[in-house]
């Protein structure tokens, strides 16, 4: 019979050591991962390289050094790959002023593998930690930062806007927290980079909080007409408001005859 309590058993020490190692190791990894080159397992990197050679190398070069069609990927980091491929912008469909979002072409695993390989080339922005993506920060501060840093291109509520020569700032509704964060740290296409000295991770979290608040809370005033402001309101007035009123005047005019 073995009536020793569980913690007295000979293998208990082994479990405690194991748990301690896992906790401290993953804690350390979580604390340091944000802006370090994130290396996946050698298998994942090898898989990523294979995918890269098959799908990306014709434009970005066989070693990611860049070619005629595409820029160098050395140092762009895992976040960049995760954003560009994860939103379907990459692989690009056609060259033009700017790449459009389209259905995502790869699975999560494949994207992580490619991200791991690109991250292994040189240090760059990593995929953000979960804690910054919870949208539970300070929406007021986020809103202020958004108006100062982002609204001139993306519109005050992220409805999007035009840039020069066919380029544009896309609407931000429906963009995931992770992709918003990655866009800020990597500055995809025509967007500037907002690094951690410019907007701290906490600031970024606040901006995400603001955007998610606006997205999830419908306007208290009713239907939003695309949130594009006075142009939509004016067209609505002329077409539907005045249109309806004219229908009434015709009705009133016809009744008398």
């Amino acid at each position: 019979m073995n009536d020793k309590p569980m913690r007295r058993k000979p293998w208990a020490l082994g479990i405690v050591i194991f748990l301690g190692l896992v906790l401290s190791g993953s804690g350390y990894a979580a604390a340091t991962s944000t802006y370090q080159a994130e290396f996946g397992s050698p298998e994942q990197i090898a898989e990523g390289k294979k995918l890269f050679l098959a799908n990306c190398a014709s434009c970005h070069g066989t070693n990611g050094e860049g070619a005629i069609g595409g820029p160098s990927l050395i140092g762009v980091g895992a976040a960049s790959v995760d954003f560009q491929v994860g939103t379907g912008r990459m692989p690009g469909q056609a060259s033009g002023p700017q790449l459009y979002k389209k259905p995502v072409q790869f699975t999560e695993e494949q994207i992580s593998a490619m991200a791991a390989w690109v991250a292994s080339l040189a240090p760059g922005p990593a995929i953000p930690a979960e804690e910054y993506l919870r949208a539970d920060g300070d929406a007021t501060h986020g809103g202020e930062l958004f108006r100062i840093n982002c609204a001139m291109c993306h519109n005050a509520v992220g409805a999007g806007g035009a840039l020069t020569e066919g380029k544009f700032a896309p609407g931000l509704e429906g963009v995931t927290e992770k992709h918003i964060y990655e866009a800020m740290v990597t500055g995809p296409q025509n967007m500037p980079v907002f690094n951690d000295a410019n907007l701290t991770p906490e600031d970024k979290k606040d901006i995400i909080t603001f955007l998610k608040y606006v997205e999830e809370n419908d306007s208290v005033g009713g239907l939003e007409l695309g949130s594009i402001g006075p142009v939509a309101e004016g067209l609505f007035t002329w077409i539907f408001g005045l249109g309806f009123i004219i229908a009434i005047t015709v009705w009133l005019g016809a009744k008398a005859n």
Binding site: A151, A162, G166, G221, E224, S227, G234, T237, G241, I246
Partner: protein, 549 residues
């Protein structure tokens, strides 16, 4: 002599009491018998007036809660994403109206939608008056009053738009500030006088508030009073038709028909505005945030009625600046100001321009069908196109991003359209009007084509034409034909430059014209044996014959 009986009912006695003291009965009797014609397009001005009444009602509610102060406070209301934010009292009180005062947001939205509808209905009313020639003698002055009312509507709208002191309206004010400062010599002084120092200052909201709730509404009410008084003095115009002449009005009396109708119509308009305001967000100021001179949001536009001026600014080429004695004249700002002022002056002065060109001094109470004044209609179409391109110019960025085009290309296309569009519109409209007149003439003379082809005993095929009834015929033939004015020497025997100019413009107006069917023509066409006269295309007939042979 009829016997005067004492009224017996309470209302009758009360009315008698008032009448004996104010003799208001005769006024009411006359006014109540005023006849108004019936047509849907005559109600557009009414829509503008009702929108204005709704603006006053909802605006009064808003004044109870709005505080026009630019002092800084920390927002502590219930809209979460702005909590604790530093902002002006004006913006904070606008947010309170939107979130914390019962019915406040609905009233704000009623007020704003009504404002958009007010100017839109007034604009459409102006177009109706223009295209039917209702501005001709004796109504030229009323056109000017109406034109001033439209300008006041724009001014009321703009001053109101700027009151909440949110980011969007602040950007709009900043543009105005830039335009004022761009005026040579006086610009900076005027700007600092208006804003009480450097933009944005701490006073402009209070000043705009005084204009918005006092000066401009008072002017609108005064002008509206004059406008309506003139309508009563002039009596209403009516469309051409049997029995409709310059010396009568065919329609229904004010009492009881129009009093009931117009009263009901007010509530219909109010209902439409309330329904829209309850369903659709307008000017969500909480999205824009408090005004701060550094941020500018993409998609910053003014309300629609200021849009054409914003468009003029956007479309003006930026490389035309003049340098005079070391001072830069910024044509990117001056050109839009000059062009829009010229446009406005032409609109306001059009009745006098046309009266001068036609030399017509008679009174006109029967309206023109737009086709029967081809040049005026064409000028109107060109003006509408010019305005519309400027208006669309204010949304170049939205057009570019929503239709996936290059912003630069959209701008260039608009610049070309601004010049070319009115020319094309003028030409197409004039030709369309002349063709419609020809068609009218054809129908008046030969009736409608029935599509029924019959063979006569001797073998000839003819299509049966059905003559139009007399009622319809009246509409087709009753209009005045003008002819180009020849330059004639004055008393001193000289042909002045003015006379030459007038005859040149008159030639543009009336060189191409279709004369109305005269009585003689009509009788000839309908004479029993006048069939030969009806077939009035002798030039083509022989040719065809030759071919057939």
């Amino acid at each position: 002599m009829s016997v005067i009986t004492e009224p017996k009912t309470v209302i009758g006695k009360a009315a008698n009491y008032v009448d004996e003291r104010l003799t208001i009965g005769s006024v009411l009797k006359n006014f109540g018998r005023k006849v108004f014609p019936d047509h849907w397009s005559f109600m557009l001005g009414e829509v503008a007036m009702y929108s204005f009444v709704i603006l006053i009602i909802s605006g009064t509610f808003l004044t109870f809660y709005f505080q026009p102060s630019m002092a800084e406070v920390h927002y502590e209301g219930s809209y979460a994403p702005l909590k604790g934010m530093e902002m002006s009292i004006a913006y904070a009180s606008s947010l309170d109206i939107s979130f914390d005062i019962r019915g406040g947001l609905l009233m704000r939205q009623v007020h704003h939608w009504a404002a958009l509808l007010f100017v839109a209905a007034a604009g459409l009313h102006m177009l109706r008056v223009f295209f039917t020639g209702a501005f001709r003698k004796p109504r030229e002055l009323n056109w000017v009053v109406g034109f001033l009312l439209f300008l006041m509507g724009m001014a009321a709208g703009f001053t109101g738009y700027s009151l909440p002191d949110d980011l969007l309206s602040g950007n709009g004010l900043r543009i105005i500030d830039g335009m004022i400062k761009g005026i040579p010599l006086i610009g900076p002084a005027v700007s600092s006088g208006f804003f009480g120092g450097e933009f944005p200052g701490t006073e402009v909201v209070a000043r705009l508030y005084s204009l918005h709730i006092m000066i401009i509404p008072a002017l609108i009410i005064a002008l509206l009073g004059i406008h309506l008084l003139m309508v009563v003095v002039h009596k209403h115009t009516h469309y051409p038709g049997p029995g409709r002449r310059d010396d009568n009005v065919v329609g229904y009396p004010l009492m009881p028909v129009y009093v009931a109708k117009a009263g009901g119509f007010f509530f219909l308009v109010f209902g439409v505005i309330a329904a829209i305001a309850a369903t659709f967000t307008i000017n969500p100021i909480w999205n824009y945030g408090p005004y701060d001179p550094s941020p500018v949001s993409a998609g910053t536009q003014p309300d629609w009625y200021i849009g054409w001026l914003d468009g003029a600014l956007r479309l003006a080429p930026s490389n035309l600046d003049l340098v005079i004695a070391g001072f830069v004249i910024p044509m990117g700002v001056m050109l839009p100001i000059i062009v829009s002022l010229v446009f406005l002056v032409l609109v306001g002065a059009y009745p006098f321009i046309e009266a001068w060109v036609t030399g017509d001094r008679r009174e006109h109470h029967v309206l023109d069908r737009p086709r029967n004044a081809p040049t005026r209609t064409a000028i109107g179409a060109a003006g509408v196109t010019f305005y519309a391109v400027l208006w669309a110019g204010a949304s170049t960025d939205l057009i570019a991003v929503n239709f996936q085009m290059s912003l630069n290309h959209v701008l260039t296309a608009m610049q070309i359209l601004l010049i070319l569009g009115p020319v094309v519109a003028y030409w197409v409209t004039k030709r369309a009007c002349l063709s419609l007149q020809r068609k009218d003439r054809e129908i008046a003379l030969h009736g409608r084509e029935t599509g029924r082809v019959i063979r006569l005993p001797h073998g000839e095929y003819i299509e049966v034409h059905e003559p139009v009834d007399k009622y319809e015929l009246w509409k087709l033939v009753d209009f005045k034909d003008y002819e180009p004015i020849m330059p004639r020497p004055n008393k001193k025997g000289k042909i002045t430059v003015g006379t030459k100019l007038r005859s040149a413009i008159s030639k543009i107006y009336f060189e191409d014209r279709i004369a109305p069917v005269s009585k003689a023509e009509y009788e000839l066409a309908h004479a029993d044996h006048g069939h030969a006269a009806v077939e009035e295309k002798p030039k083509r007939k022989p040719k065809q014959l030759k071919k057939n042979l």
